[in-house]
Symmetry: C2
Subunit: 249 residues, 2 copies
């Protein structure tokens, strides 16, 4: 049975011989949830320093230290698509964040549109979920979770060199597979997934008028917002990975 | 705003002029949740009869009738992949069933493997989830939810003409995109997704020894079981849909 090693995302400088005092949540997780003891091995990682082996020491109910050993993975860029999404119900939004992290998203941007049913987004909660997912899925980096913004601000601030695919449930676009055929090896892309109620017609017109935007059709069935996000990212991974593999041969 | 019409899956014969007594759950859903009233329009559907408009009549706290009007969609085959999956925690299993239904799965088969952490599967619950998802996503059919079986029984009973792709987290396979390149227009396929602990080595050896089985690699990150299932189905849809579109031109 594959027993996953315990990986903790740890901000700051990771270096051989360093001793890092563990925070309250980590102490609780290692001691009470995983029932580790002093002397047990874990890994610490972040995007800047890569991944390091570490030994848990002086673990008590409230305190603990991670003593860093050797580097097990060098830092490396983990470029990925960006995902702008209208928040949905709590569990489903959590799911979007967890799955998008597993599927390699570099940046998550909650957006408010006319028909977004949720008025508040707890970004700290979403960050905690993305960290946990990154720990579990072997990423070195954790996606950035932006503060929520309006659809208008998203478009105004969007880098023009990054293509933005819009999941258009009205069937206005080509299939994502078609849109991704013939792309370059490491494309800079993003996805925009609307709320359950869809985009308003004027919102959709405003979005699709931008040069960097392209409507894509995600299939014949009506997908829930979180399914659309996960499906789009999965297809993106499969097709850009294939393109990367092909370009390496 | 897109206000989805209310679609109810209804077993039995649907025909113009028929009056169907609504069950307790439907009465509750229409009256208390959606707050419909007598005279309101809904749709009824099933895989054999297609989809029909209907009017709710005599709706009270405990009773109600659906009076069937005209057919709005003819029955049509909805062939799709089969998904054999090791059940995971409750919410995540629910998610697999809901998303697989949205993504067009024809049959769901819970399987027990050596490292499956769950000993029981409530198939009635999974069927209810798949019905709700089918109502929401515009399917005419509801996927069959099989009784759980062992991995050995799955292999023994698997139709040899249907290819079975195994999500191999040990990286033994080609990418799913590669495996699906050059496939026929409407392929008969299935997916086998293991538990969080992975397959035991001897299980994997037994599976991959079968002619109809092929290991596939679902990408560089470690995906949770439910993510692997959703990702595989999404990619399958995107690539077989493209193949279907291409074959029509």
């Amino acid at each position: 049975m594959i027993k996953p090693k315990t990986r903790l995302f740890m901000e700051g400088v990771l270096d051989a011989g360093a001793e890092i005092a563990l925070g309250k949540n980590h102490v609780h997780f290692l001691g009470n949830v995983l029932r580790l003891r002093s002397g047990d091995k874990i890994s610490l990682f972040n995007g800047d320093c890569g991944e390091w082996s570490a030994t848990v020491e002086n673990l008590s109910k409230r305190h603990g230290v991670a003593c860093i050993g050797e580097q097990v993975r060098c830092p490396q860029p983990e470029p990925g698509p960006w995902l702008a999404f209208a928040p949905v119900k709590k569990t489903r939004t959590d799911f979007i964040v967890e799955k998008a992290t597993e599927l390699g998203v570099e940046k998550l941007i909650p957006i408010f549109t006319r028909f977004t049913a949720t008025a508040r987004v707890n970004c700290e909660r979403l960050r905690a979920i993305s960290i946990e997912a990154a720990e579990q899925c072997e990423r070195l980096s954790v996606p950035e979770v932006s503060e929520p913004c309006s659809l208008m601000d998203l478009l105004a601030d969007w880098p023009s060199g990054r293509k933005l695919f819009i999941g258009d449930e009205k069937g206005g676009g080509v299939s994502l597979a078609q849109a991704l055929s013939g792309i370059e090896a490491v494309p800079e892309h993003g996805f925009l997934i609307g709320p359950e109620g869809g985009f308003a017609d004027d919102e959709l017109a405003l979005v699709t008028a931008r040069d960097f935007c392209q409507s894509v059709d995600l299939g014949p069935r009506i997908l829930r917002a979180e399914t659309a996000a996960i499906a789009a990212l999965s297809v993106w991974n499969a097709l850009t990975e294939r393109s990367n593999r092909l370009s390496q041969h």
